[in-house]
């Protein structure tokens, strides 16, 4: 039996971890980019990013003032008691973390422009549900920044042109985005399904660690090809020029309608924040993305 107080506490902890400490795979990718950068300006931008990450971690301060819109991915065991109460616990956790960490209040009514000042509102925090066998609860939080979200794109492309149209759309999107999404970025790409399905899958690929190549060898090859092409634009860290424009490209897909070829690109800034934990039925907690003492 997992109490909702435990769920709330773990969610607060995950929000705090996510905004103050990057997962090791993201830190590794940024360090590699810094080592490999050969322009002076690009290197200085990456150095500032690494110094900032270090300071944020040491002082438990949010690494970026934009602590994002809060999205939870929940994998709930079908035998878990109180699934219907999890949403309430996650909302409470968001309100608490906003004060405690603190997070910047980022939930605004799109019609009245009123900010609720606690990061909750209609459909926010957004919760993705997956029901899995068993009695454990896995929580992942993805605080998603606005600058990078603003250059995300959906293309309803022509099926006859297939992968070539996809590649062109990705390159055009990354060049149009330029400095705006705080590069080096991570591109989450998904093809097929439909407009909403592609977008949803594209965002979910941002939860995958950067050091894990795609299990499908063809997609792994495409990811590498697009990563190299994006980096050959020379846009570089912060759009000031340099070798690394994207840290990684992640691809997923769903089967498509014969007449449709939806391609979704979700752009994630260098502050690729995410945190996950598993809560077992005996209330044992296992943090997955971060080391917690």
């Amino acid at each position: 039996m997992v109490s909702m107080q435990v769920v709330e506490n773990v969610a607060v902890k995950l929000l705090q971890l996510a905004v103050t400490e990057l997962p090791q795979d993201v830190k590794d990718a940024l360090q590699r980019a810094h080592r490999e950068e050969d322009t002076q300006v690009g290197k200085s931008q990456l150095k500032a990013i690494l110094d900032n990450i270090d300071l944020a971690e040491k002082t438990s301060a949010p690494m970026c003032q934009d602590t994002g819109v809060i999205i939870f991915y929940v994998k709930a065991g079908s035998k878990l008691d109180g699934i219907d109460k999890i949403e309430d616990a996650l909302r409470k956790a968001t309100i608490r973390a906003t004060k405690q960490v603190p997070l910047r209040p980022n939930a605004v009514n799109p019609f009245t422009q009123k900010n609720t000042s606690d990061n909750t509102g209609r459909h926010i925090p957004y919760i993705h549900w997956e029901i899995v066998p068993g009695d454990t609860l896995e929580l992942t939080v993805l605080p998603k920044g606005g600058g990078s979200e603003n250059v995300s794109a959906l293309g309803m492309l022509s099926p006859s042109q297939g992968t070539n149209a996809l590649k062109k759309f990705v390159i055009d999107t990354i060049i149009n985005a330029g400095a705006k999404p705080c590069p080096p970025t991570i591109l989450g790409i998904a093809v097929g399904g439909g407009a909403d399905i592609a977008m949803n899958l594209a965002k979910q690929t941002l939860l995958k660690p950067l050091n894990q190549p795609n299990p499908d060898p063809e997609l792994a090859k495409l990811e590498q090809e697009l990563r190299e092409a994006a980096n050959s634009t020379g846009i570089g860290p912060m759009g000031l020029g340099g070798k690394t424009t994207v840290l990684d490209v992640k691809i997923d897909y769903a089967y498509r309608h014969p007449a449709s070829y939806p391609v979704a690109i979700v752009v994630q800034c260098w502050a690729a924040r995410r945190a996950s934990a598993k809560i077992y039925s005996n209330e044992k907690i296992e943090y997955i993305s971060h080391k917690v003492n």
Partner: protein, 199 residues
């Protein structure tokens, strides 16, 4: 590519020495201003009213900080730059009327600002996007806050900074715009990239 420590107020002569790709570190007084504060300052000026602070020679920082009041004193926790293009409609008049010498932000600005910087003598210093704790660390004291009616992020925060940077000079007084140069280069590479990708 030279590194300059600069102290505000900065003279027009000093700012005209800077060229794109130079790095600057600022010490002294800077103020934050986003869209609303830019508009408010320009409205006051239009109506013949004084600003709460003379901005001549200072730096304006495009930033909505996370601040906390502790023991009756404001403490800046996170203060990364916001996207500067939102201030494009106001920045040329802001530079002209208030003679700020450095505009700090991320992502660069447009032609109107580039022209004003050339004409009146100011540079754009790009601060690393998202590096909010690094920025906060260089803020030694909050000297004051004006226009809190605009909301905390939009208010004008008057900050005492020490070695605030690195700021990459991305627009100089000679009409150079580093962001535009990089962007144009990427555009011209497009066809070659398409070819590499096999179409």
């Amino acid at each position: 590519m030279t590194t300059y420590p600069l102290r505000t107020p900065i003279s027009e002569k000093d700012v005209r020495k800077l060229v794109v790709n130079d790095t600057i570190y600022l010490t002294g007084t800077i103020v934050t201003a986003r869209d609303s504060a830019h508009k408010k300052a320009l409205d006051l000026h239009k109506n013949g009213k004084q600003l709460p602070l003379n901005l001549e020679g200072l730096a304006v920082f495009h930033c909505g900080p996370i601040v906390k009041k502790e023991n009756h004193e404001w403490n800046v926790l996170a203060a990364g730059p916001t996207t500067s293009t939102r201030m494009e409609p106001f920045e040329d008049d802001f530079i002209k009327n208030f003679k700020v010498r450095v505009v700090i932000g991320k992502g660069g600005m447009g032609k109107k600002t580039v022209d004003a910087m050339k004409h009146y003598g100011a540079v754009y210093g790009a601060f690393t996007g998202g590096a909010a704790v690094l920025a906060a660390k260089a803020i030694k004291q909050v000297k004051g806050v004006e226009w809190t009616d605009l909301g905390m992020p939009e208010a004008m925060w008057i900050l005492d900074v020490e070695n605030f940077g690195p700021l990459t000079v991305a627009i100089d007084t000679h009409g150079n715009n580093l962001f535009q140069t990089i962007q144009t280069k990427a555009e011209t590479k497009k066809q070659k990239i398409y070819k590499t990708l096999g179409f």
